[in-house]
């Protein structure tokens, strides 16, 4: 617990008998890049949902920077510095890319101040800086519906970053992205995160990505953490291979939604 920025203790949640979390303990240190892997339906996304306040754990606590955040509303948790991205990008489909990100920038800078336009000078400048970091400047004026999947993913993460979080939770940042693009996207992404010193947790199915970008891997299976350690070590553990990689070789598309 000492020095951990984000830590979970004894998290439990079940959906109609399926235990998505069954006594999870997890500590994440400041600046760490942690990958969560595991079979579909293991409860990986549920962990993100609980940490960000979308779901309330049935038991256990989550602390962030030493303070308990269990049971807070998503918007309260966000203000403390935990942001997230989504497996299926959650963009505001009636807005352009720059507006999508600017809404988040405005939200972070204080939303309830007067009637100045959303894209006033300071907000635009801050937004463009983020778009630049994520290589999105060329699509700034494009509608969210006109983007390809990779760009949508990046926009989704850029939106989360606009909140200037200390911790970013990402749900499969490369799923649905053409495999030729995935390293480009991860390079851009990790570069941006490192530049800002953000701690990151990401759920991932692609072992190549995990191996290349994670500092640490936590293996999630049937609501428990099966193993945790550096990628080289964990990904060669036979028990992990049998439990996770064996299933994951096919790289199933669905990935499992949050919950039913």
């Amino acid at each position: 617990m000492s020095g951990a920025l984000l830590s979970a203790r004894g998290l439990r949640i079940a959906f109609g008998g399926v235990k998505a979390a069954d006594g999870i303990d997890l500590d994440i240190a400041e600046g760490e890049f942690v990958a969560i892997i595991g079979p579909n339906g293991a409860g990986k996304t549920t962990f993100i949902n609980m940490t960000t306040g979308y779901l309330r754990p049935q038991a256990g606590t989550i602390t962030f920077a030493g303070e308990p955040i269990t049971g807070l509303q998503p918007r309260q948790i966000v203000r403390r510095g935990i942001a997230r991205s989504f497996q299926i990008p959650q963009l505001f489909t009636e807005h352009t890319v720059i507006e999508n990100v600017a809404l988040k920038v405005a939200a972070h800078r204080g939303f309830w101040h007067g009637l100045r336009p959303l894209l006033d000078r300071p907000t635009t400048a801050a937004t463009m800086a983020i778009l630049d970091q994520f290589g999105l400047r060329h699509v700034a004026e494009a509608k969210a519906t006109e983007l390809n999947e990779g760009t949508r993913k990046l926009t989704d993460i850029a939106m989360a970053m606009a909140l200037e979080p200390r911790v970013l939770l990402m749900d499969e940042p490369t799923s649905g992205v053409a495999s030729a693009e995935k390293f480009d996207i991860m390079d851009t992404l990790v570069g941006a995160l490192r530049a800002r010193g953000v701690t990151a947790v990401f759920v991932e199915h692609d072992m190549e990505v995990v191996e290349r970008y994670a500092d640490r891997v936590a293996v999630w299976s049937q609501g428990k953490i099966l193993a945790s350690g550096p990628p080289a070590e964990v990904l060669n553990d036979p028990a992990v291979l049998r439990e996770v990689i064996g299933v994951e070789v096919k790289h199933a598309a669905g990935g499992g939604h949050a919950h039913a």
Partner: protein
Amino acid sequence: MTLLLLLAVLDGLAYAALVFMVAVGLTLVFGVLRVLNVAHGSFFAIGGYVAATLGGAVATTAAAPWLALPVLLVSAILVGGLLGPVVEKLLLSRIYVKDHVLQLLVTFALFMILEDVQKLIWGVQPIFQDAAVKALGPVEVGDIVYTRYQLFLLPAVAATTLLGLMWFLRRTLTGRVIVAVTQDREAATAMGIDAARVYMLTFTFGTMLAALGGALASPTSSLVPGAGVNMIVLSFAVVATAGLGQIEGAALTALLIGLGRSVAVYFAPEFEVVIPYLIMVAVLLVRPYGLFGSPELRRV
């Protein structure tokens, strides 16, 4: 006092039966098509008008008075079978991809058009055809005269409809397909279900139910221009209170409204008009998605 309450219950039941008949069709259509059909009230009125017209013809020619009863059902099937598919194909099928507001307004436009169509066909003079009530005759409860039609037939038809629908939706293949589409349209189409056909079937059936409601109401009340308007608002309240697409919820809500209304007439007549809305607000305060509703599946 107990007697008064019993009487209130008897009156409430008959009214609840009518409300249920109209609201259940609306609920069904909304559950499957996700379109809140304002023209449902027009179908109710047209069902009533057709039943009264046919009933009049039968009453003057036929020898057996009981023939007035099947006429009600025949009218409903006629109205639903003719109007339902036409409206669904020509109007609704073009707007499923559009905004909910636009879908609602399409049916609002249809309602306005049908209002005048009714006027052109049946005129403005109240029309009344009570052969069906006369065929069944009165019955006495204690000292009070009731009609068999209201006391037995209406609740019986409503109960049959409720049970029949529950059986149909749970036990038959078509029913389960409809339920599947109600619960998750995308998943259902992904499974290869012909959603277009399901929509058409459901809408036609919903229209028949509305028309049957109107047909059943016609022997006890006059048909006047604007007869459908009140029914629309009332059944909207029922749908929201019940929870989206909830058949049992519609039944329970109709019962609450029916009983609430007649109890109000006895003890607080001033509140009679607002009873449905009070019930709705109260229910939604406690259960934000309606009596039997659950939150829509939200993907994160």
